[in-house]
């Protein structure tokens, strides 16, 4: 076996104030009949409407629980990686070229509010506390913050003033890919990052701490459950559970080596964690045990969404599909 060290090209930021929107006219994404069957990376369900984003600036909307999709005009061809809705009307989408898009009408029309292709740093997630205050996070420690609903963005970092060196065994500073951001019901923010990094903020992102990590491989998401319980997942089937907001972790048996990409808690309390190679891990006991349901086509899953009626919408390499039957317990 030959092992090749990953080459990571590190971009170095100059200054702390982000660039304004590039002056050129945006290129619009191409409308394509097969858009719902090509790589999609994230999705969101908001009051009966499902939206999904992906390759080539595709944004798709389904108003019938994922059975049919229509593509909307989007002022970018960059691959979109994440979408977040504050309410039924107001939402944001982010992606490569550090693009940030905003909608005021539930996703029908989009405007470009931030764009910095020359930075070569993609954005991977976006989160808003309210209509004004939010974050977009991405590669090489990119953290953008807005306090005016996305009109202007300023650079920030998870390092900040409370940066701890505790588990920084790579000693390379704070330029890891920030992959995923989530907020628990107790009001804590968690950021899952590259190379075993996991950050937490208890003051909505004013300050961050680096949590002790159980693993040196990358994490791609957290799933906060009730109180301070949360799941953390990443490379090669690694799944951890914490009952104390990430102060200590317990490794969960997953029977898979696939990268785990996303998790969701359904209305009935069932927890589903998705991953590459068609991996679906299902827990019906609050995340204490998981059973593996591998999709026959082995296609990579990026996101899983709980839709009305207990069905699941899977988002990934193949686009968007709806799992009609609820996942059986236990077998």
């Amino acid at each position: 076996m030959i092992a090749v060290r990953l080459a990571i090209v590190v971009g170095i930021l100059s200054g702390t104030v982000a660039y304004a929107i590039a002056p050129d006219e945006p290129e619009y994404s191409d409308k394509a009949p097969l858009a719902a069957h090509s790589l999609l990376l994230d999705g969101v369900a908001i009051e009966g409407r499902i939206l999904a984003v992906g390759q080539w600036g595709h944004i798709l909307i389904s108003d019938d629980n994922g059975q049919s999709w229509h593509q909307v005009d989007v002022p970018t061809r960059a691959t979109l990686t994440a979408i977040f809705f504050f309410d039924r009307k107001l939402g944001w989408a982010v992606g490569h070229d550090a693009i940030i898009l905003r909608t005021h009408d539930g996703g029908e029309t989009w405007e470009r509010v931030y764009y910095a292709p020359e930075e070569e740093r993609p954005l991977f997630d976006v989160w808003f506390r309210d209509a004004e205050y939010g974050f977009a996070i991405g590669a090489y420690g990119l953290l953008l913050r807005t306090t005016d609903g996305g009109d202007t963005w300023s650079l920030s970092e998870v390092g900040g003033k409370d940066w701890t060196e505790a588990s920084d065994d790579f000693g390379e500073g704070n330029d890891f890919h920030l992959n995923h951001i989530a907020r628990s019901e107790t009001g804590r923010l968690f950021v899952a990052a590259e190379a075993g990094k996991i950050y937490r903020s208890d003051d909505d992102g004013e300050s961050w701490i680096s949590l002790p990590s159980p693993y040196h491989g990358s994490f791609f998401g957290t799933l906060p459950l009730e109180n301070d319980v949360l799941l953390l997942f990443g490379l090669r089937g690694h799944l951890y559970r914490s009952e104390n907001a990430g102060e200590s972790w317990q490794r969960m048996e997953t029977s898979t080596e696939a990268m785990l990409t996303d998790g969701v808690r359904l209305k009935d309390g069932t927890i589903v964690v998705a991953g590459l190679a068609g991996t679906l891990l299902v827990s019906r006991d609050g995340g204490r045990t998981f059973t593996l349901h591998q999709q026959a086509d082995r296609q990579g899953l990026a996101t899983v969404i709980g839709a009305d009626g207990g069905s699941l919408i899977l988002i990934g390499e193949f686009g968007a599909t709806r799992l009609p039957e609820t996942l059986g317990a236990g077998e």
Partner: protein, 798 residues
């Protein structure tokens, strides 16, 4: 002039026969040297823009000349020690097949098939079948994992694990001899060394080998073509029996049959002498030449019979019919030749060879059937008994001719013309539906249920590899693959095309580069993008070998391969027009989208050539015929009488093709020209006799009745004989031969009907004299005419 020529020929009969014998011996010798000559380039319209692109990049990308061998298990999956042993043995064997490019062979067992996987500290990789592979349960399970990681499921392994693939490229030239690769030999090796190996005792598991690729297609076509000899024999026998029945003599039929055979021998001999071989696609042409020879031979005996009827001795009769038929026969044959030569307009070598082969054959017929045949006939001694037989049959057939002859009376003629107009409308309506190119799945030359097409269906069912590929060659600047603008345009193009109906999937360097980029980033799907950074982009493409066929050495050329759902003409046209639309909107100084490579690319070019030449060919054939007819008969009306039925039949042939779902393509387009050429024979023979009778002052119905009894007789007979002979092709194992058979049968029959029914009907309305007679009066006059013709030996034969 003709007299002089006649005296020269008949004055030296022995010399003439001797000369023919000598030439025939030489030609027969050469004919035995004839080789079957199949080649890939011959099938390409090389001058077409698409094929220029294809040829330009063929060296770098190996063209469309791949062989795929799928080994499928009967039941269960491939993970057994026996199957792996079988695959290994077969892979080794493929390396040593003639003409295989050994660097490009791939199967699970070749070292160029590798997997990569993401681990915590980077990427790990290795051969799918590791060097220390043991066919144990663990070893096989490991290979199964590696197959999934390598992303070769659907390409080298069946999607349901029921089989595995060996893929190889063929070189254009045999590296051992430097000669162009002998595809038939390769096909034979595939059959014996691979399929034979799989069935042999060396392999102790039941596996099915499914083999596809151009070499195999050619091999199967050649196999089918060999069976044409059987059809030839059957046809010869049928024709001989029919000619015997027709001529009422045992001796007489031998002569036209022998002369026609001589023409075929000459034709084949001349091919070798001129350095040509015969292509499997054109193997029917000698057959066609034989048919045409018989057709003209029958006209000769028919005319000869008519002379014998008058009581002259055979040499005199032979001279008379030589005189009488040299001009119309010559004109008819020259028209045939021109018909064949117009096919040269199709700029595809195999078709041009067909045109040359056919022209040579017809040229031979001019000599054998217009000169040798009358000379041979002059040696015959036919007794009084023969004359009586002729008279008896003439009486039997007379009522039939009387009915048909009414077509030249003005009222029935009007009905015939009205029906023809009706057919014209139907023909134009249905004929408009004709499809250019192939209408069905599978390799169009072979039948849908042929071994090859079944193999290819099995492979497309179990693997994700389509057998129909259209490649667009993207030409850009040096190192274009690390230029974001170039690569993102290609990526958009690939995605645009994937959305076109009829495109199953698209493979381009960008598809691979995005996956590799994601691999460098721990395999995350969100990294499946092209980087704007030249060095990062360089990393994404650096490990893609040129053997992938997705880029050339300096990555200034990157083909985008589109696997299509089928190769129907409309699918191809739709895809091609989308490519052009995208190219027009997105081409720049640095990036060009060039059509086309891949088998569907070849079809696209061929279809366009066929579409572009179909009207010029018809125009060429018809104008040549019109000019020749005008020179011969000196009358526009005569030209119309002869050409209008031909045009109607051509139109109806289009309609027939549309109804029977036979596409207009390289193998069927020539038929239209050939059919017109053959149809015109009928018209010229009939009109020439008819005109000479009119010149003697006979009325149209009178003249026509007599014409029918002498010439029409031969025309009807020939039409039926050839239709029956050619009809046998319908049972050919080769689809294109069957299609040709159907079309030619139709052309022979309907042209015959057109000549004996529509021609006189048109004459009765177009020709300026003796048309205004009452029906009854006319009928009585016609019967009088028929009686007269029988009593006083003015002409008739039948």
């Amino acid at each position: 002039m003709i007299r002089k020529f006649e005296n020269m020929i008949f004055g030296h009969r022995r010399w003439v026969v001797g000369l023919f014998v000598i030439v025939t011996v030489f030609m027969a010798y050469w004919a035995t040297q004839l080789r079957i000559d199949a080649g890939f380039s011959k099938l390409l319209p090389l001058q077409h823009e698409y094929m220029q692109t294809f040829t330009k990049h063929r060296q770098e990308f190996g063209g469309a000349n791949r062989i795929l061998i799928a080994l499928m298990v009967e039941d269960g999956d491939i993970f057994t020690p026996e199957f792996f042993e079988a695959l290994k043995v077969c892979t080794d064997e493929v390396f040593f097949l003639t003409g295989v490019d050994r660097t490009q062979v791939s199967s699970l067992f070749t070292p160029n098939v590798r997997f990569t996987e993401v681990v915590e500290d980077g990427i790990a990789g290795g051969n799918v079948i590791p060097a220390d592979f043991e066919p144990t349960a663990d070893g096989l399970a490991q290979v199964r994992e590696n197959i999934l990681k390598a992303g070769i499921l659907g390409r080298l392994v069946a999607n349901d694990f029921s089989g595995a693939m060996i893929s190889a490229q063929l070189l254009e030239f045999d590296p051992n001899t430097g000669e162009p690769l002998d595809y038939l030999f390769v096909a034979n090796e595939l059959e014996e060394r691979i399929r034979g190996l799989v069935k042999s005792e060396k392999i102790d598991i039941v596996v099915d080998a499914h083999i596809i690729g151009f070499a195999k297609v050619i091999g199967d076509i050649a196999d089918g073509a060999e069976r044409v000899v059987l059809f030839f024999a059957a046809s010869f026998l049928i024709t001989a029996i029919l000619v015997y029945l027709y001529s009422q003599s045992l001796k007489l039929p031998i002569i036209p049959l022998a002369c026609s055979l001589v023409a075929v021998i000459w034709q084949l001999g001349m091919l070798t002498a001129l350095g040509y071989g015969i292509d499997p696609m054109g193997i029917l042409v000698p057959f066609l030449v034989f048919a045409i020879g018989v057709s003209h031979g029958v006209q000769m005996i028919s005319a000869f019979g008519a002379e014998v009827f008058q009581g002259a001795d055979t040499p005199t009769c032979a001279r008379a019919c030589f005189r009488r038929l040299l001009i119309p026969g010559g004109i008819a044959l020259v028209s045939d030749t021109i018909g064949f030569i117009t096919i040269l307009l199709i700029d595809i070598q195999v078709i041009q060879e067909m045109a040359i082969t056919a022209s040579l054959g017809v040229a031979a017929i001019i000599l054998t059937n217009l000169i040798l045949l009358p000379v041979l006939v002059s040696y015959l001694h036919l007794g009084e008994a023969y004359r009586e037989k002729l008279q008896k049959r003439s009486r039997q057939l007379a009522p039939i001719w009387r009915v048909i002859a009414r077509a030249s009376e003005s009222k029935p003629a009007a009905v015939v013309i009205l029906i023809s107009v009706g057919l014209l409308v139907v023909g134009a309506w249905k004929g408009a539906d004709i499809k250019i190119g192939d209408v069905h799945q599978g390799v169009p030359e072979l039948r849908t249920d042929s071994r090859y097409n079944i193999d290819s269906a099995v492979i497309s069912e179990h693997f994700s590899i389509g057998v129909d590929v259209l490649s667009v060659i993207v030409e850009t600047v040096e190192e274009g693959c690390i230029d974001y603008d170039v690569m993102s345009t290609i990526d958009r193009f690939a995605w645009h095309m994937e959305n076109v109906e009829g495109v199953q999937s698209v493979m381009s360097l960008t598809t691979v580069a995005k996956v590799v980029n994601s691999g460098w980033n721990e395999g995350g799907l969100e990294w499946r993008v092209l980087s704007r950074n030249r060095s990062v982009l360089g990393q994404s493409v650096a490990y893609v070998p040129t053997s992938s066929g997705l880029l050339n050495e300096d990555c200034s050329v990157m083909p985008v391969m589109m696997f299509t759902t089928d190769h129907k003409a409309e699918t191809i046209a739709r895809i091609v027009s989308e490519v052009k639309r995208f190219a027009q909107a997105n081409e720049s100084e640095t990036i060009k989208f060039r059509l086309a490579a891949g088998n569907v690319g070849v079809m696209a070019a061929t279809n366009e050539v066929v579409k572009a030449t179909q009207f010029p060919i018809l125009l060429g054939v018809f104008s040549a015929i019109m000019v020749l007819c005008f020179i011969t008969f000196r009358s526009i009306r005569a030209v119309l009488c002869i050409v209008i039925p031909l045009a109607l039949v051509s139109l109806l042939a289009y309609a027939l093709m549309a109804v029977l779902e036979i596409g207009l393509k390289v193998s069927t387009l020539p038929i239209v020209a050939l059919g017109v050429g053959i149809g015109v024979d009928y018209g010229i023979y009939i009109y020439s006799r008819f005109q000479s009778l009119l010149a003697e002052g006979k009325s149209i119905p009178e003249a026509y009745l007599i014409t029918l009894a002498i010439t029409g007789n031969g025309v009807v007979f020939t039409g039926l004989t050839l239709a029956i002979g050619v009809g046998a092709w319908i049972f050919s194992p080769l689809k294109f031969q069957a299609d040709m058979g159907i079309l030619l049968t139709f052309m022979f029959l309907v042209n015959m009907l057109g000549a004996i029914l529509l021609l006189p009907a048109l004459a009765s309305w177009l020709l300026p004299f003796k048309r205004t007679e009452g029906c009854n009066e006319m009928r009585s006059r016609a019967s009088v005419a028929l009686r007269t013709q029988k009593q006083q030996p003015g002409s008739a034969a039948s």
